[in-house]
């Protein structure tokens, strides 16, 4: 049977479609027999919803997990990470080792040594009292408020006084009583006010992580990430707290700044960032930073793995946003389940084209026909510019082999 592979896409962008067309795939609608669906998250959720009754066949794969929001919603991510850490602590895992640190105010606080992935964060209004307790430990600190379900920097603001928070809750007309539930929840995090600066400007990192399975965990890191720079010099003075161009690195914010340059779009490649760091700070600190970032991503995925619906038809490419502080410690800011495929510069277009191309070659088995049953072990060529971050199945296989070998040797 010589059937052509069919695809369906909710996003009519050339960066995606040219990759399908290049492979000779035929476009069909969502109601037809598609083999590969590049969908919006909402449509994916609909397909998986119980009311729908749609059952995917073995030759259909889709680009989202049904409950990806466990990772991509800020409040659920925090909840899952906190749960993950507590579990490791309970089982006495050395990963959950804790230490005491002294805050600038002189007060002492406990932090995880290896699992300090996110800045101290609370979900509001639910954790309001806990937040106030933590806030009082360092009253000089700045906190960042982010709406849980929004993106592109919408609705984010900074506060440095508890009174400002109360003022905001009054003005927003959202009942801010911890007992009352609120539809629009927020997370409030300790603001990283000491970001690593290059050329006096703040930046964050965007890394692409492809996950083809959560249990066993199979995750791949795309080699071409980039740093997004603010167009304005970093300034922690109180007067600039409200200046989004100083603090928020989202391209959607910065592109409206006066200094925005559309040739490079404020984006520097991760490779050049690594080169800069290695040349100016040396190899070992650079290696440590990149290794820490790998672990940060792996831990965040392990944290949600137990609750993710590990449907074999699914894969997902996440956009990880990471901020590095001036002690070269990486912090997870958030995870995007639908990273923007819009291209702001020429280099951007090439990068995103390559990204989609490599995603397809990783998730589709060697014979080129999407198949939910295949073993999901891509060859080195199929990986392209992806690197294996973690493949629990392969680790398991190696462990079994070495155990067998040991048994054989000991006889």
């Amino acid at each position: 049977m010589d059937k052509r592979v069919t695809y369906c896409t909710d996003l009519e962008k050339s960066v995606i479609m040219s990759n399908f067309e290049r492979r000779g795939w035929v476009q069909v609608g969502p109601e037809d027999e598609w083999n590969f669906y590049w969908s919006f998250t909402q449509n994916c959720r609909n397909i998986f919803s119980i009311e729908n009754g749609y059952r995917m066949n073995d030759n259909q794969i889709i680009n989202h997990f049904p409950n990806h929001y466990e990772l991509s919603r800020k409040d659920l991510l925090v909840k899952n990470i906190k749960r993950y850490r507590k579990e490791l602590e309970k089982e006495g895992n050395p990963l959950a080792e804790k230490t005491e640190i002294v805050l600038p105010s002189g007060q002492v606080a406990t932090r995880y040594v290896h699992l300090d992935l996110i800045p101290v964060t609370y979900v509001l209004p639910a954790d309001y009292n806990m937040f106030v307790e933590e806030y009082r430990k360092s009253p000089q600190s700045t906190w960042i408020m982010k709406p849980c379900g929004k993106s592109q920097g919408t609705g984010i603001f900074l506060i440095n006084k508890l009174s400002k928070l109360k003022k905001w809750s009054r003005e927003a007309k959202i009942p801010f009583h911890p007992q009352l539930s609120s539809k629009e929840s927020y997370v409030i995090s300790r603001y990283i006010d000491n970001p690593l600066l290059i050329g006096g400007k703040k930046f964050d990192l965007r890394l692409y992580v492809l996950v083809t399975s959560f249990r066993p965990l199979k995750a791949y890191l795309f080699k071409h990430g980039f740093c997004r720079f603010c167009t304005v010099k970093y300034d922690t003075s109180v007067t600039e707290l409200d200046n989004m161009y100083v603090h928020l690195t989202n391209v959607s914010v910065q592109r409206h700044g006066v200094e925005y340059n559309s040739l490079h779009g404020g984006k520097m490649s991760v490779q050049n960032f690594r080169l800069y760091l290695e040349g100016t700070r040396g190899r070992s600190v650079t290696e440590k930073l990149f290794s820490d970032m790998d672990w940060l991503i792996v831990h965040s995925l392990k944290a949600v793995a137990p609750v993710m619906a590990n449907d074999r038809h699914c894969f997902e490419c996440y956009g990880y946003d990471i901020i590095i502080d001036n002690t070269l410690k990486p912090w997870l800011v958030e995870v995007n389940a639908s990273p923007s495929l819009q291209s702001t510069t020429h280099n951007d277009r090439i990068l995103k084209y390559k990204l989609i191309d490599n995603i397809i070659s990783v998730v589709v088995p060697p014979d080129g026909i999407p198949d939910a049953r295949w073993n999901k072990i891509p060859s080195t060529e199929a990986l392209g510019d992806f690197e294996v971050l973690i493949d629990e199945e392969l680790i398991e296989k190696e462990d079994t082999n070495s155990r067998c070998n040991r048994n054989i040797r000991s006889r």
Partner: protein, 372 residues
């Protein structure tokens, strides 16, 4: 003739035509100039480590990111650390011939160039900064324009623009540059001090460095931003590199390492080793030098990605020679010749050569230098 060298904001092509106009030569080759240049066989003797085919850093992309150092990288890093500890420039220079691990470059380059940042140096640099703040010069406008048009638009260097402004502005105020380059850059421009009558005592060199910047001048400094993140060390290393090498790329002279000799070397190498390409250029009426001149004049800065560029500049410093520039130019043309044969306009040739981001210069140069 020296007056035409540092024309501000003129394109490279214009400079070249003016050069020819000055020589009053209807033909557009350098071949008729009475300058001696080496041939490929002689260059093999100049670069024996590259001609021998031995493994060099950068030949295999092993240090490219996450995979960590391979065996060669580890070996070179260990050796390089010992070389750095010796603090002996000739040994450091010898080490650079086989390429330096990136983490050791900053220290090694400084040693080879004799740059040591003492309190005195820092004080001098701060004085230059004060000069910049106190007195505006017309040159400053050129520097701003240059940085804005080049580095600020380049995704590899835009983050460093503040550092570049500092370095380039201070450079223009630095009289020591003029002192050290006396004789190599012709007569510097002098102006009468404002308010005084024209007399030998009331003229001053303008700018104090004796060098008027031009479009692309700051690209001589941009790659150093990947080695030094504070201005003083960056400044002195860049300045030393400029005094030793870069000025030769934009001042016309008969020096064997000057831009004219490099252009001639390029032509000779191309004609002798890629005769079909040479003929192709003649047939489509394109001056071969036109295609690579911008690479030579900027020592490939802004054309090669920084990690490759730094290997190239290792070689310049290690072998104390700029000959590697025309050699690389020919090697790149040779590598892409099949594509060049298929086009017949200058725009299309430029398009074939526009993107050098996939070029690995070390294996390319090794190939060019190894015996057939």
């Amino acid at each position: 003739m020296g007056k035409y060298d540092h024309l501000t904001e003129r394109g490279d092509e214009e400079k070249l035509y003016l050069l020819c106009f000055v020589w009053d030569e209807p033909k557009w080759e350098f071949a008729h100039l009475p300058l001696q240049v080496k041939n490929l066989e002689q260059l093999r003797k100049e670069y024996p480590e590259w001609a021998s085919g031995e493994p060099l850093l950068g030949a295999i992309p092993e240090c490219n990111g996450a995979s960590g150092l391979g065996p060669l990288g580890t070996e070179r890093t260990a050796l390089g650390a010992r070389v750095t500890a010796l603090r002996y420039a000739p040994v450091a220079q010898e080490f650079l011939k086989r390429g330096s691990p990136h983490c050791l470059r900053a220290g090694l380059w400084a040693q080879v160039l004799g740059v040591e940042v003492t309190a005195q140096q820092t004080a001098y640099f701060n004085q230059l900064k004060r000069n910049v703040l106190e007195v505006d010069l017309m040159i400053d406008k050129l520097i701003f324009k240059d940085v804005q048009l080049t580095a600020s638009n380049d995704d590899q260097y835009f983050v460093f623009e503040d550092l570049l402004y500092q370095v380039m502005l201070c450079f223009s105020r630095d009289g020591e540059v003029l002192q050290q380059l006396k004789g190599s850059i012709g007569n510097a421009l002098t102006v009468t001090i404002k308010g005084k009558q024209t007399s030998p005592e009331s003229v001053t060199v303008f700018p104090p460095s004796g060098i008027i910047p031009f479009h692309g001048f700051s690209m001589y400094a941009t790659p150093f931003c990947y080695l030094y993140d504070e201005p003083v060390q960056l400044y002195y290393t860049f300045r030393a590199f400029y005094i030793r090498y870069w000025h030769r790329l934009h001042y016309i002279s008969t020096h064997p390492q000057g831009i004219v000799s490099l252009c001639l070397l390029y032509e000779r190498l191309l004609e002798a080793n890629e005769p079909l390409l040479w003929i192709h250029f003649r047939n489509i009426n394109i001056n071969p030098i036109r295609v690579v001149f911008k690479w030579l004049m900027r020592a490939f800065s802004g054309h090669l990605p920084p990690d490759q560029l730094l290997f190239l500049w290792d070689a310049i410093l290690g072998y104390d020679s700029l000959y590697i520039l025309p050699l690389l130019a020919v090697a790149i043309l040779s590598f892409r010749k099949e594509n060049i044969f298929q086009v017949n306009t200058i725009q299309n040739v430029d398009a074939v050569l526009a993107d050098l981001s996939t070029i690995s210069i070390v294996p390319l140069l090794q190939l060019a230098l190894m015996k057939p």
